[in-house]
Amino acid sequence: MFKQTVREGFLSQVIIQTFGIAAGVGLASMRGALEELPGMLIMVPAFLQMRGAIGGTLASRLSSALHTGVIEPRLKPSRELSQNLVGTFVLNVILSGLIGCLAHFMCLLFGFKSSGLLALFLLALIAGIISNLVIMLITTVMTIKIYQRGLDPDVIMGPFVTTLGDVVSIPCLFLAALILMAAGM
């Protein structure tokens, strides 16, 4: 198991960190929006964390379900799968809204400038819904495909989903920021 874990773990890290640096370059070039919408930087780690956690727990549940045989390793709709996806989506909507409110609250608490409760709430919600749809689709398809190929999705998917979350989230946050700035918020 040691060799397999190191090989699969490091290989996936090589791919992931290449994307991670791409996300970093994206973040570095988003410096304008970060200054324009005060409070946005506070929500970045929480948003990336939520994205990774929701995708990661979905992948982790699907891995366990595949290992234990609760879900068949085939791409077809089933009740077990749809319960997983519905739960994931509802959780995402609730948490995205919460993150926006938290960012505003943290600004008040620590005396930073804030863009306002409504702006930060909408920013997180819009970015959250768009990114979640992308992540759910990719996570489900890839976890099942990886299992079909005899690889261990526990080692590959968890890490992959968190980075995928970053790469998808940062443009989504940027997009949501552009929408809000265009709306004059």
Binding site: T5, Q17, P45, A46, G52, T88, L95, T162, D166
Partner: protein, 187 residues
Amino acid sequence: MTYYKARDIVKQGGVAITTSVIVDSFAGVLLNAKMEALLSIPILLVLLPSLMDMTGDIGCMVGSKIATFLHLGLVRPRLEKNPYLMRYAAAVMTVAVLTSLYLTFLAVAASHLLGLSAVEPLKVLAVVLACSVSISVIAFLVGMVAGFVTFKHGWDPDNTTIPIVTAVCDIMGAMLLLSAASLVGII
């Protein structure tokens, strides 16, 4: 009746992820307080998602595997020497060190290509290694406790271990990044 229920996923995941999101907002506050340093030394912004990722990834690999070990019955939910966990810990540490080397190379190369202000590569490597090695140790300790406690409670550790471990890793990662960077004199 299905084994998975959307309601349980929202409830169990909600508790764990809400906690982690609150913890991570404090990581955001730390970054926001150092926003000017981050904006003026862009290699730190370039490194930030990757480092947060790597720390989160290590947390995920640990959390997800501990959950699977518990489900398969290979690990009992109590603090004792376990060969599966020991071997997995050694493997995760090896992955952390190898990844740090690669990550440093990428960040330095990307900054060079983008023409961002240069920082000595060895200093970047020191920062990245300090973060990844400490995080691996922390991830294991927190992952075991979180997995064991929720499993004993009758909850699915798949829903809880990852969010808890990754949140702890993120806030520690942000703290370690900022303190390692100031220790080697980057900020």
